[in-house]
């Protein structure tokens, strides 16, 4: 009986999946046993990216520009060969490849079905952005350039953007590492030793919440070389949340773990490093995540306000010279960079906390 019901359901689903429409409302999501969320209509999922790529490309090539654009290096090139349409053509090939993969390679199917609608969605957004700005000019130039202009103009500056990104990344990582090391150290000390907690906590409460960017002018006076003060600044910003969460995790260790360890012959060293710190790790990772967020803020803030070089500086400079296309390009790079760093952190956490069940997904 149950089996029969099941086949009927499957048949209904198949019949429903035939009309290929791109309405988002129809993409009902359901979970399947592969762990990937399946959007229920395989044909829609597999065809959608190709349709989206073609649509976005046609919008860009055939609808005349509504915005009164300034001349760029792309003007002599045929519109089909400009960077944005080329990217869309590349994405079309990727979509085609995914469809073939879905058709031929059975193990890749859940994966393709999971990612294909997301790819289609991204291209759909590009197309809408293109329409609203460059094509229909509902959003005015130069404040809202279309994706074609952003990509084209940013490519012109790719050397500077790349070196700025590298500069920012170096500063961010060194500041973050310094902040995390200091934060974990002080957090462990404050969380474990009551006497250090007595003096450390009030100090932490007063100086911790001070926004690091407020100290940029003062810090910049300290040294001609900007790298060390900027590192210290980011380190300070990261230090506060990491210290808070580490000390909270340390002082909330389940007492029975400590009791058990003591009756197993554990000394202070074992209690700190083998019981308290491991049990505080989930909380410490929340601190690391918050610290990472604050470090992005401080980095871009500090670079925009005074620290020379880096993405924040570039964004500020492009904004001042009305080069909004390049500003958006730098935004995009920043977003991808930061998202990648958060992904790294979460991967690390999943690896370190593999003993834990039920963790936040990223």
């Amino acid at each position: 009986m149950a089996g029969k019901t099941h086949t009927t359901d499957a048949a209904t689903q198949n019949r429903e999946s035939h009309p290929v429409t791109l309405s988002a409302g129809q993409l009902a999501t359901a979970s399947n046993d592969t762990g990937y969320v399946d959007c229920g209509r395989p044909l829609v999922a597999v065809v959608a990216p190709m349709v989206a790529a073609v649509a976005a490309c046609l919008i860009h090539v055939f609808i005349p520009n509504g915005q009164n654009l300034e001349p760029t290096w792309m003007d002599p090139i045929s519109v089909w060969q400009q960077p944005y349409p080329i990217v869309l053509q590349g994405l079309f090939l990727v979509s085609l490849f995914l469809a073939l993969l879905h058709w031929q390679c059975l193990p890749a199917r859940p994966w393709v079905r999971y990612y294909a609608p997301l790819l289609a969605g991204a291209m759909f957004l590009f197309g809408v952005d293109d329409l609203l700005s460059q094509k229909l000019a509902w959003l005015p130039w130069p404040f809202f350039p279309g994706p074609g202009m952003v990509l084209g103009c940013s490519i012109e500056d790719c050397g500077i953007i790349f070196s700025s990104t590298w500069h920012s990344l170096l500063l961010l990582v060194s500041g973050y590492v310094v902040g995390v090391c200091m934060g974990v150290l002080t957090g462990v000390l404050i969380g474990w030793f009551p006497s250090i907690r007595y003096w450390g906590m009030p100090l932490l409460k007063v100086i911790g919440p001070l926004p690091a960017t407020a100290m940029v002018p003062a810090v910049m006076m300290l040294s001609n070389d900007s790298f060390i003060p900027a590192t210290a600044l980011i380190g300070f910003a990261v230090w506060f949340p990491v210290t808070m969460l580490t000390s909270s995790g340390m002082s909330n260790v389940r007492l029975s773990y400590l009791d058990v360890a003591r009756t197993l012959g554990a000394g202070e060293w074992y209690l700190i490093f083998r019981v308290a710190i491991p049990s505080a790790l989930p909380t410490i990772f929340i601190g690391l995540f918050m610290g990472l967020g604050v470090s992005f803020l401080t980095l871009i803030g500090a670079e925009a306000v005074g620290v020379p070089g880096g993405l924040g500086n570039y964004i500020k400079a492009q904004q001042s010279s009305m080069e909004y296309t390049k500003m958006y390009g730098a935004w995009l790079v920043t977003a991808v960079l930061f998202s990648g760093l958060i992904t790294c952190l979460f991967r690390t956490r999943d690896w370190v906390l593999n003993w834990q069940k039920g963790v936040i997904k990223w």
């Binding site: 029975s256 009756t263 197993l264 012959g265 074992y270 049990s279 003993w355």
Partner: protein, 273 residues
């Protein structure tokens, strides 16, 4: 069948005064929430012979767990004296193992590393690694050695905790309602397991329980405790041969006797002790 607290009962083939564990006139006072003081244990005395299994049986709030924590060295008595052999107990030590109702396995360690914890804590893992493996085998968890605690069932987790408590070969193992959270069937199987380990190791054991059957099934002696302030009401020697039959007339007779001592035999309206 009964004896006064502190006075060693006649022993079968053992030297009476070679007590492994001496609890003498121990009082424990806790501050109560309303600012006053609560007397939890009142001049409590108990001596446990080497290799003996003694149960502390009584209702909740009679200070059984408090006494066990003091023997473990985790709490200090307000007055009185606790000794292991000739040494006064002042702090926790690896020679007095403790096992709780909650297995309290370290969730960040695999079963094997949990069992090794005592060896690591004492810094003797390299020399005694094989002992951890031996206990892993003894409690039948070889197949689960590399599994994390959250993947274990309640009974398996408690077996791992037992192996962890035994790996240091403590002179005394203190069991604080170790099987209280398990279902009836798992509990009876675990009772056999603990008895088997106790017989092969010869470890002195002090078992806190409020399960009368468990106390009769497992122990050499039962210390019946009265609640608030806790003190030992009487000591009951259990001379039944092992392995014991839960359904034997002797067992049931003893069970009835203890129920009557605790005024739980039923039918009686009078609740005074």
């Amino acid at each position: 069948m009964t004896a006064t607290p502190g006075e060693p009962s006649p022993v079968r083939g053992r030297i009476a005064d070679a007590a492994a564990l001496q609890v003498r006139d121990v009082c424990k006072v806790y501050p109560s929430p309303d600012g006053g003081e609560v007397l939890v244990l009142d001049r409590m005395s108990l001596s446990v012979r080497p290799g003996e299994m003694v149960s502390l049986l009584g209702p909740n709030g009679c200070g059984k767990s408090t006494l066990l924590r003091m023997i473990a060295g985790l709490d200090q008595p307000t007055s009185g004296d606790l000794r292991l052999g000739n040494q006064p107990i002042t702090a926790p030590s690896a020679e007095r193992g403790l096992m709780f109702q909650d297995p309290n396995l370290f969730p960040w360690l695999t079963v094997r590393r949990n069992i090794q914890a005592g060896l690591v804590a004492r810094g003797v893992l390299r020399e005694h690694r094989h002992e951890a493996e031996e206990f892993l085998r003894l409690v039948g968890l070889e197949a689960f050695a590399d599994v994390y605690p959250h993947q274990l069932s309640g009974g398996m987790a408690q077996r791992a905790a037992l192996a962890r408590a035994l790996v240091n070969r403590p002179a005394v193992l203190l069991l604080d309602e170790p099987l209280g959270a398990l279902d009836q069937f798992t509990r009876m199987r675990m009772q056999d397991e603990v008895v088997r380990l106790w017989q092969t190791r010869g470890t002195t054991m002090v078992l806190v329980t409020h399960d009368i059957d468990e106390a009769i099934y497992m122990s050499d002696r039962i210390a019946l405790m009265t609640p608030r302030p806790g003190r030992i009401d009487r000591l009951i020697d259990i001379t039944m041969p092992r392995p014991r039959q839960r359904t034997s007339p002797q067992f049931l007779e003893l069970r009835t006797a203890i129920l009557e001592m605790l005024n739980f035999a039923g039918g009686a309206k009078d609740g005074s002790a």
